[in-house]
Symmetry: C2
Subunit: 476 residues, 2 copies
Amino acid sequence: MLRARGGWQALRCCASLPRARRAARLRVREALEAREPAGEVKVQGWVRSVRSQKEVLFLHINDGSSLESLQVVADPSLENRDLTFGSAVEVQGELVKSPHKMQDMELKAEAIRVVGPCDTWLFPLKMKERHPLEYVRQFPHLRCRNNTLSSLLRIRSEATAGIHAFFQDNGYVHIHTPIITSNDCEGAGELFQIETSNEGRESTEKSHFFNVPAFLTVSGQLHLEVMAGAFTRVFTFGPTFRAENSQSRRHLAEFYMVEAELSFTESLQDIMQVMEDLFKTVTTTVLSKCPRDVELFHKYIAPGQKDRLEQMLKTKFVTISYSEAVEILKQASQTFTFKPEWGCNLQMEHEKYLVKHCGEVPVFVINYPYDLKPFYMRDNEDGPQHTVAAVDLLVPGIGELCGGSLREERLPFLESRLQRLGLTDAYQWYLDLRKFGSVPHGGFGMGFERYLQYILGVGNIKDVIPFPRFPHSCLL
Amino acid sequence: MLRARGGWQALRCCASLPRARRAARLRVREALEAREPAGEVKVQGWVRSVRSQKEVLFLHINDGSSLESLQVVADPSLENRDLTFGSAVEVQGELVKSPHKMQDMELKAEAIRVVGPCDTWLFPLKMKERHPLEYVRQFPHLRCRNNTLSSLLRIRSEATAGIHAFFQDNGYVHIHTPIITSNDCEGAGELFQIETSNEGRESTEKSHFFNVPAFLTVSGQLHLEVMAGAFTRVFTFGPTFRAENSQSRRHLAEFYMVEAELSFTESLQDIMQVMEDLFKTVTTTVLSKCPRDVELFHKYIAPGQKDRLEQMLKTKFVTISYSEAVEILKQASQTFTFKPEWGCNLQMEHEKYLVKHCGEVPVFVINYPYDLKPFYMRDNEDGPQHTVAAVDLLVPGIGELCGGSLREERLPFLESRLQRLGLTDAYQWYLDLRKFGSVPHGGFGMGFERYLQYILGVGNIKDVIPFPRFPHSCLL
């Protein structure tokens, strides 16, 4: 049944023709999807399981192209002591229909080569063990070889592509907003500052590489606003940073944000519509592109999340005003640690209650108190309860997923606010945008990791990013 | 001919229906592409020219959706003193076939509203002036409203989408490699270091936010190699940093790199094939998606570049070895500032000569001296002229565009090199990758800004990125 036809040497010869070579090589996913016998192929991957029986040797190999592994059936004579869990192999053989119910295709091995052995004793991942996420988090250089993390990374990749596609399909121009910025005025306590590594302790302002203190960006918004003076729709999708000393399950020092800015927009509803469309379109894409990977999360990590997500995709998001939200909280039977009061920030406990109150669906909260929000948000001129045209999107289990606003495009309003803050000089360039063809505009940002946490039901943000950075930890 | 039917008030009413509103609003690009009269529309944008005649008022408005502006024809009675170059306007009217040869469609205005006036006296951009790139560079917050820069940004956006599409179509998993890293061993002099802004001068190692010194990434390669232990094809496309004190036309402190890593790859040619395919596919996409924007560069910035680029797309890239390159340079009639010698780095002048020698086409130079290259490149074991499996891609006018290599996947080789460099402890995690299912692999990086410089023929790298960061400059 299992013949050895020429082995690797024969394959090397045919490999000199690039076309033959491509045909001879199959990714595991393609092998699994093949419905017809494909003749002589070579498949490469890492061994996920080895089962040696008297008559036959079973392997499962995986190359990261899909959650499922390809079953390899071989003569026991092909076994060798390096053929262990975690080792890298090349298997040459025939792709045939499988007699087993569990899979369509299997590979009848003619030759197996161990490309890279794996010391299973030292390797922290073990065969057929469902390691907890906390466990694999200790091994940032190896955890991608765990099923949960490799599914996560495929989903993250598809979601990234989906976000780019959404904006491109809707006529947005993609902008690389800068990572290093000299804007230091907003929330200065949470910024990372940059020095050249040889500037040393005795450096003075003048000796800064950029001549001025420079920081890691906390948002691309102000730079997107520059672009909103030339394009009607722009977006950015890149890393942002907070030097917050928080060990929360929702915070990272380095995380990704999707931000969009729309010109000639006078209504907060237009911004909210884009937020909702983005969320639903990308989620639908991810669900259709990696159903098996998402299923793993919905089965083992967050049972019930699948139905909740599908329900949510069919439902229009709820909108309430900040003032309504405070009234709802005041009338709640629940006792809060922070007493709800008009003019105070909504706390995590408040956000959770509001989402529950609205039926565990995403909730837009709009029109926040003027005094709570940054200088660039548009004054609603609605005193005595003075508000700005701001919006936060709260989602079940996470809290704030997106934040947005209309921006103050009126020069006199912006000038007087910056003056009161003593920021007029630092923001001359920002005021300039209002002097030369200013337009009503607005935008929003969505935390990409929180988005992934939400759709997959992952409790800790460290498990949805390849290399998490947080206080006291910057591994690799 | 020009009636005023109800004006803005009427439009506001119809705007309450979202569908009617969408139909009523047209982007400039759509307006230009409409071949049939479209009835009542509203178009928004910034005024690019105003020409007032006795009988008729001509405007050109642009909203960044295309290089071309839409011609607006209005009754002189609609003119007002705020209707100037640079002002933002909403024009309501009828989209009709134009009697002029220059354009297909024009907008017969019924109402014109100046949304945001522009002080033309203070506005640094002037009507119908072709400002040099050096001039507009002084105004990073306004230069996107210049034709050349807005074309550049549309091209950059399309190229970004093209790069994502290329890798996605070829089965690569996108990875967000970290921006902040604790890897400090490679080229330590050129790193930016990170501190929290309140760590201050008296901070000690222990007080670091991450407990360890942290730096801005110079490359995602090592982190991609982690992923190449679980996926056969991965890529990243993000910002990278160099604290180099160079005022060159080819260097930035913050720039973008496309990096890919391929597992189960034993041949440098496979890597080079991906480099060539990426380059040609993305360039073809850009040329077909924004022909007019590219044309602007090929007409005014780099005459002749169009033909050279088209020729290049049809030509197979040339490959020479480093040793051949040195021989070619030694036999050159030209005198070099740096004498070409086996074992020395190729200088800019050498790269230029080699590209010229090969017929002004892209040239792969492969197999560099072992002692010139970093520890992770694969030993060719080809003494006495000991080389590694490295490749640089040199292109006309730019020099090095891409660099890549096979990586040393063999544990003993890597161990001895790291030991010699005293880096064994710092790179334990990297050695681990060779202990647990190591596979032959390799990859490359392409400088995105240099890519744009090359295809567009832009001399200064500061003109192909939205917000350039370089020594002594970090505007905005």
